[in-house]
Amino acid sequence: MKYGYYPGCSLEKNARAYHVSTMAVAEPLGIEFVEVEDWNCCGATEMMAIEKIPAFALISRNLALAAKQNGSTNLVAPCSACYLNLKKADHYLAEDKGLRAKVDTALEAGGLSYQPGTINVQHLLETIAVDIGYDAVEERVVKPLYSLRVAPYYGCLVPRPATMQSFDDPEHPTSLDKILQRLGATVIDYPLKAQCCGGHMTQISEDTALELIRRLLKNAADCEADMIATLCPMCQLNLDAYQDAVNAHFGTDYQIPIVYFTQLMGLAFGIPAKELGFGKEFVSAQPALDKITEEAPKPVRTRGRGKQKAELPMPTQLEER
């Protein structure tokens, strides 16, 4: 299946591992990515806060380019901020005629135009979970990630806002959990899975950012996670690069590797770690990866279920949504 591909600035540099691993898993999953030619920065989170019209124009230029380019009407963004910005622009251009007129003027100056709704913006997680499907992912697995305890971390942008028809529950998403389960990993019920990593707070108010990062690391450690799997370059950077700072600030000693979910998919698909960008992370993933066993671990009873006689039965989980 053919998809437009919008890597965004991060995937060119600090999130190179995300880009490399995305490309590596695309082929076995039957995805053909066609990169948008001459794309520009999405404006990240700052631009929108400073001046709305140029911010929307900047984002819309990418939508216009993607629409012009022959190929697919689906546009995949692996970066959560890029995804949200592109999706938001498409949504508000359709809703706000005044905004659209101004953005149109800006696009015209560059010889471009964009009709809202033409492009279906997807996050990479949505492409894999919804379009490709969990069964197809499982079929590609040749080296299951047995015994690896992974905390699935979605961050705050991808499942929200719900008004834009999110593909997953905005408060308690489960699509990444399911993908990782199909890879054979032991997925922990990570309570903070949809909470904020601090974003660019590291630049504005470091104390705030470090506290937010600490919570995520502490909770993952409490859940005895071997690593955190993420789907956002910002989350990866904050949790990985600032882990030392957190340890210094709070007197803790967290050593939790933060990897992209596509890297774990690649490993399970039998692709060598080197070709998946492993080794670029600050906190090395190697000790965690060494824990992977060839045999499936014995099933552990989920918490709270029939250990002692007196125990009351738990309500069953809701069916797959």
Binding site: L192, R215, D222, E311, L312, P315, T316
Partner: protein, 676 residues
């Protein structure tokens, strides 16, 4: 406007009356203009407008005009025929005309209430009034059809609403079939520990009523049964009920309970036990069950699943176990039906951030009801999911799934009160424990309810005004370890709060039964957007439905507490008793008839009739309508290829005249097209 009447000028003398309905109609529609304009229709003898046509003065206008001006037809343009068609038909009759020589134009619900555009509303009112005039000219005098009321009644649902309705009727001497889906009657009230605000023991006030039902000779109790089909109409319903096989011979069973005791298969009781306790594969929901015969749950029975076991058969002293028992289809007639099918509790798992189903010490309100009940799994002790630890701090979260645009927008009406009751029960059972009630608004309207709230304030319950955002086990600060942290806004203090507690109770709201839409179709009546059954009128006919002879009571109509439910059960029973004592009701003479000499005998109509009201005469080779069965739906009228079936009061001439009347200002070409 006069050029296009299809009825000859001066054929009939029509009186037209435009109602102002205060400002409901006159505020939007120029009533003077409409009544003046319709005088241009050559059949109109009198045209007036009046403030309230439904008042006695308004009705007298009609009566006097018929007598004095010799009117032969009457049109009133006012509200929906559901409101006042009967009123004006009677006025027409009092004036000396057949009541069916009247026609009503709805210019309120269909016009003035639907728009603020006065010009457009006035134009539409003209079209509607003109249509009514054109139609009424073709009306024929008709006589109402008397229908006898079968004095037997079916009550569907054996909760407190159905029990009340069944007992009221049975005690008045009428026979009742009480149909209950589960193995026992009792419904949700049987699960509850105490009732607010008086704190009566729920079982103590319910079980005597259940016993009365079981012993009343006028009640045929069909438990573990479901209604399969409903045919017929008011006074003459034909019902088929599926009596599911409980694999227990009711003639032989003595309700000794030994089968239940010896059954080796334990399953979680998700129904009566709210998922907090276990039952056996052959079971009675609770010891006071009515009827007392157990039900064998085939899905969980070892014998049915593996072919081995049969312990219950071996231990039964009267050989009452019958694995071969099959479902029975029972057929009977009733005159009226009362639906009292109750509610489902909102499934708190739909709000994943509250952790129900993931975090062991988050409980649903029904789970807590069972736990605090002396007959429940913990013998009435309030304990954490481990079954041994007493909680020291408990949070009670109001409005779970209610007053929430993501789930149910409405208020479930009972949750504030039962949450207060929970807080009281905690104080009673665990005097040292701290209780935090998270509420949006405290809603306590009812006799003694507000006083109960004040009592709880004095008992030391902490009240936090704010919707809970999240319940998590992810501790962040010292003191939070191992606790459930309730994150919420406190809108009175204007702060965000994190409150570590041992136990959380989710006060889930009331929802329509998951299959209410299916049930409403089975009974050919309506349900609203939320799935609750529609009453005929929200104020004045709260237990009647749009279908004559079918009544509703209790939470199937909307969230309700026990007093309101009981009141509705009684009200529905009195509606039915009224019809039974009338003995006969007059039905609309809207019936189909076949002109037999023109019928080709093709029999197309025979199978189309949903009421099986058309018979085929083998000798004459023609079809004819059994008037008593016909409901006037019109299906056969539309389907007849020879066009020889007439629907009384809905003849082709009447409908086409009405259409021409409404399209009076259409260009001529349109009329030509219709002729093609």
């Amino acid at each position: 406007m006069t050029e296009k009447q299809n009825s000859p000028a001066g054929q009939e003398k029509v009186g037209v009356y435009i109602c102002h309905c205060g400002s409901n109609i006159a505020g939007t529609i120029n009533v003077d203009e409409v009544s003046e304009w319709i005088k241009g229709n050559p059949n109109v003898e009198v045209s007036r407008n009046y403030e309230f046509m439904c008042s006695s003065t308004g009705q007298e206008l009609i009566e006097n005009d018929i007598k004095e001006k010799g009117l032969t037809r009457v049109v009133v343009a006012s509200c929906s025929p559901h409101m006042h068609e009967k009123t004006f038909r009677e006025a027409t009759e009092r004036g000396g005309l057949n009541p069916f020589l009247f026609e009503m134009a709805n210019i309120r619900e269909h016009d003035s209430w639907a728009t603020n555009n006065k010009e457009a509303a006035t134009a539409k009112a003209k079209a509607l009034v003109n249509a009514a005039v054109e139609r009424v000219v073709h009306h024929k005098p008709l006589e109402k059809i008397p229908v006898d009321i079968d004095p037997k009644t079916m009550v569907v649902g054996g909760g407190i609403a159905g029990i009340t309705a069944a007992l009221e009727l049975a005690e008045a001497g009428h026979h009742v079939y009480l149909v209950e889906r589960e193995g026992t009657i009792g419904g949700h009230m049987a699960q509850i520990d105490k009732t607010f605000p008086t704190l009566d023991c729920s079982a103590c006030i319910l079980t005597p009523k259940m016993v009365d039902v079981g012993q009343n000779e006028n009640i045929t109790l069909l438990s573990y049964s479901e209604v399969e089909s409903v045919d017929g109409y008011i006074g003459n319903f034909n019902i088929t009920v599926r009596k599911k096989a409980r694999c227990v011979d009711e003639e032989l069973c003595t309700s000794c309970g030994i089968c239940e005791e010896k059954c080796p298969q334990k399953v979680v009781d998700n129904n009566y036990g709210a998922g907090l306790s276990y039952r056996k594969a052959i079971y009675r929901a609770f010891p006071q069950a009515v009827p007392g015969y157990p039900v064998l749950d085939k899905e969980n029975c070892t014998y049915f699943q593996t072919g081995k076991c049969k312990v219950c058969e071996k231990v039964c002293p009267t050989n009452a176990i019958n694995y071969e028992q099959e479902d029975q289809l029972l057929n009977f007639n009733v005159g009226n039906i009362i639906l009292a099918t109750g509610y489902d509790l909102f499934d708190a798992r739909k709000i994943p951030q509250y952790g129900y189903g993931r975090l062991p010490n988050v409980f649903s309100s029904l789970e807590f009801e069972r736990m605090v009940n002396a007959s429940g799994p913990t013998g009435g002790h309030i304990l954490l999911r481990d079954g041994e630890t007493e909680p020291k701090t408990i949070a009670i979260v109001h409005c779970v799934g209610s007053r929430d645009q993501n789930h149910n927008e409405y208020c479930s009406k009972v949750c504030c009160m039962y949450s207060l009751k929970f807080a009281h029960l905690v104080h009673e059972h665990l005097p040292e424990a701290e209780v935090y009630n998270y509420y949006i608004d405290m809603r306590t309207p009812g006799k003694g309810y507000e006083e109960f709230y004040h009592r709880l304030l004095k008992e030391g319950t902490h009240f936090i005004r704010g919707r809970v955002a999240e319940i998590t086990d992810a501790d962040r600060k010292p003191g939070e370890e191992g606790k459930l942290i309730v994150q919420s806004e406190n809108t009175l203090l204007g702060v965000q709060q994190r409150n570590p507690v041992d136990m959380v109770i989710l006060s889930a709201g009331i929802e329509a039964r998951h299959d209410s839409e299916k049930v409403s179709k089975l009974f050919k009546m309506g349900c609203d957007y939320d799935g609750f059954f529609n009453e005929r009128h929200p104020k004045l006919a709260p237990v009647s439905t749009m279908t004559d002879g079918i009544f509703i009571a209790g939470a199937c109509q909307g969230p309700k507490d026990i007093p309101d439910t009981v009141a509705q059960g009684g009200a529905a029973a009195s509606q039915v008793a009224k019809l039974i004592s009338q003995g006969t009701v007059m039905m609309e003479p809207v019936r189909a008839s076949i002109r037999e000499d023109e019928c080709s005998g093709c029999r197309i109509c025979n199978n189309l009739c949903p009421y099986n009201a058309i018979e085929y005469d083998e000798e004459k080779k023609v079809s004819h309508v059994v008037t008593a069965l016909c409901q006037g739906c019109g299906t056969c009228v539309a389907a007849c290829p020879s066009g020889v079936i007439d629907g009384a009061h809905f003849t082709n001439t009447q409908i086409l005249a009405e259409l021409e009347g409404i399209l009076w200002d259409m260009p001529t070409e349109m009329t030509v097209m219709e002729e093609v």
